[in-house]
């Protein structure tokens, strides 16, 4: 009994330390003092400023770019990764080893290396940096995760159902759309959500590939802002919103996963 209480105490102590910074930020997002730790009365000014303040136009633009890049990159990655996964399951031997090795690289590489290597590539071939290069880079590190989340469904799937569709008179495209896609939908949705969060989260790769034409995502915006010294008070409100959003998303994902687990 004492052992259990000690164990629980340890877990919750760690969690308190882990969450203390986030909670402090959340609390102080409801006061409009310049300096953190200075409570100057309850106010939602920071949240209002975040979306209306003229100075923060660039912040709104950064949020928009982040979402645009994430949706485009996640969608293309999901399509590319799903089609690739279907093909890869048909590959064997050395060929398969090579493609799975290549697929693993972006996941195992540190962000800074991925960023630098893509930067060098884009500069070397003379591609002007902006949305295109950022999206291409994001596809490069998102697609492996899509492949990984679709693959298990393919291996569990009865290998004959695609042939069965062809046998019943479907064209390959019809068989893909009407038989494979429904079977793989779960993996594709997971892959898409994962890609979306990875893309929104990314900082290092975007930093190296965004160019100097003023394109900023949320991460690079925050980085630039923080480097200028201290935290813009409005960022406290923004961080709180992001934290709550992630929390809600995670709860939804978990409920979904539990439902799926129960079905089986």
């Amino acid at each position: 009994m004492i052992k259990k209480m000690l164990a629980q105490a340890y877990i919750w102590l760690l969690l308190i330390i882990l969450y203390a910074p986030i909670i402090i930020i959340a609390i102080f997002s409801f006061t409009n003092s310049k300096v953190l730790g200075n409570w100057t009365g309850f106010s939602t000014d920071l949240y209002v400023n975040l979306f209306t303040g003229g100075v923060n136009n660039s912040l709104i633009r950064a949020i928009q770019s982040t979402l645009f890049i994430a949706v485009v990159a996640a969608t293309i990655s999901t399509f590319l990764g799903t089609v690739a996964a279907i093909g890869i399951t048909k590959w064997h031997g050395t060929k398969k080893k090579i493609i799975t090795f290549l697929n693993d690289i972006p996941m195992l590489n540190p962000d800074i290396i991925t960023g630098i290597s893509l930067f060098i590539l884009f500069v070397a071939v003379g591609l002007s940096q902006g949305y295109t290069t950022v999206i291409l880079s994001h596809i490069a590190f998102c697609t492996p995760y899509v492949v990984l989340s679709v693959m298990p469904r393919l291996t569990q799937m009865n290998p004959n159902i695609y042939e069965a569709a062809l046998d019943l008179g479907a064209t390959p495209w019809q068989a893909f759309r009407k038989v494979l896609i429904p079977e793989l939908k779960g993996g594709m949705v997971s892959g898409w959500i994962l890609s979306l969060t990875l893309s929104i989260d990314d900082f290092a790769v975007t930093l190296f590939t965004k160019g100097n034409e003023g394109l900023e995502t949320l991460s690079t915006y925050i980085y630039a802002d923080a480097r200028k010294g201290g935290l813009t008070p409005e960022l406290r409100a923004l961080m709180t919103i992001i934290f709550v959003t992630v929390l809600v998303l995670l709860i939804i994902i978990n409920i979904r996963a539990n439902k799926a687990a129960k079905k089986n």
Partner: protein, 257 residues
């Protein structure tokens, strides 16, 4: 069209945007400004005490962070996966949650905490911030391995006469090593390569290897920057060899979905 051909577009994409960039980094590392083959970049690195110092200092910080994460995280993972000590799944979700929040935001939160507590930023803050940032990446894979561990191994050991302590030493600990391996890698890899965290947490007072690489690239010294990136790549490749591929597969990003 045969289905095996469906992987070809992605294969080409991988060659162009994953393999080719890395090959170019390797090529740049062995070139001088004019594009001629040379070992100069490596010689420069070896002869520049500042680079070497930053490099060893980064290794040091990364190792300290990894060891601290392991010391704090292993007991936590063990408790979380032990059904007698912890029944709810809420705690583990709370540990995973921060993995899904932007690293910069988490780092800035640490800065905020230090501001709030009126503590100075610097090396202490850096290590605290790194541990704070990467602790979940240590806990999760270890928890995962322990969770999947067949409980009958523990029972078999008990049945053969092992006391609780012996069960832990002779069965639980060795069987959790794959999780420890990927946890160590998942903490060591980002800590050795980070640049933003150190800048924000030390007000640029402390420079890490990642920062050096970034500065060189930013300043147009691509060959030297590539050379440093290649050195980092080798270190990471070596550290990955200690962990088998299988352990890494699903552990990368929380494996939540």
């Amino acid at each position: 069209m045969r289905r095996s051909n469906w992987a070809i577009p992605y294969f080409i994409f991988l060659l162009l945007f994953v393999l080719l960039p890395l090959v170019m980094v390797a090529i740049y590392a062995f070139q001088d400004n004019s594009g001629a083959f040379t070992f100069d970049q490596f010689v420069k690195f070896a002869n520049e005490p500042e680079s070497i110092n930053t490099f060893t200092y980064s290794l040091e910080i990364a190792m300290i962070t990894t060891v601290l994460c392991l010391l704090l995280g292993y007991p936590a993972a063990w408790i979380l996966s032990n059904k007698e000590l912890n029944k709810s799944s809420v705690a583990i979700i709370l540990f995973i949650l921060p993995m899904w929040i932007n690293m910069l935001i988490r780092t800035l939160a640490t800065v905020a905490l230090f501001d709030f507590a009126r503590l100075p930023l610097g090396e202490g803050a850096l290590i605290f911030g790194m541990v704070y940032n990467f602790l979940p990446f240590m806990i999760y894979p270890i928890y995962n391995t322990m969770q999947k561990m067949d409980h009958s191994y523990v029972e078999a050991a008990q049945d053969l006469g092992a006391t609780p302590l012996q069960v832990f030493r002779k069965v639980t600990l060795p069987l959790s090593m794959p999780g420890v391996g990927s946890g160590v890698l998942m903490v060591f890899m980002p800590t050795i390569s980070t640049f933003a965290i150190s800048e924000l947490l030390t007000m640029n007072k402390v420079k890490l290897f990642g920062t050096t690489i970034q500065e060189n690239i930013n300043n147009g010294l691509w060959n030297y920057g590539s050379c440093l990136a290649l050195i980092m790549l080798v270190i990471i490749g070596v550290s990955q060899m200690f962990v088998s591929q299988d352990d890494l597969d699903s552990d990368e990003k929380g494996g939540l979905i």
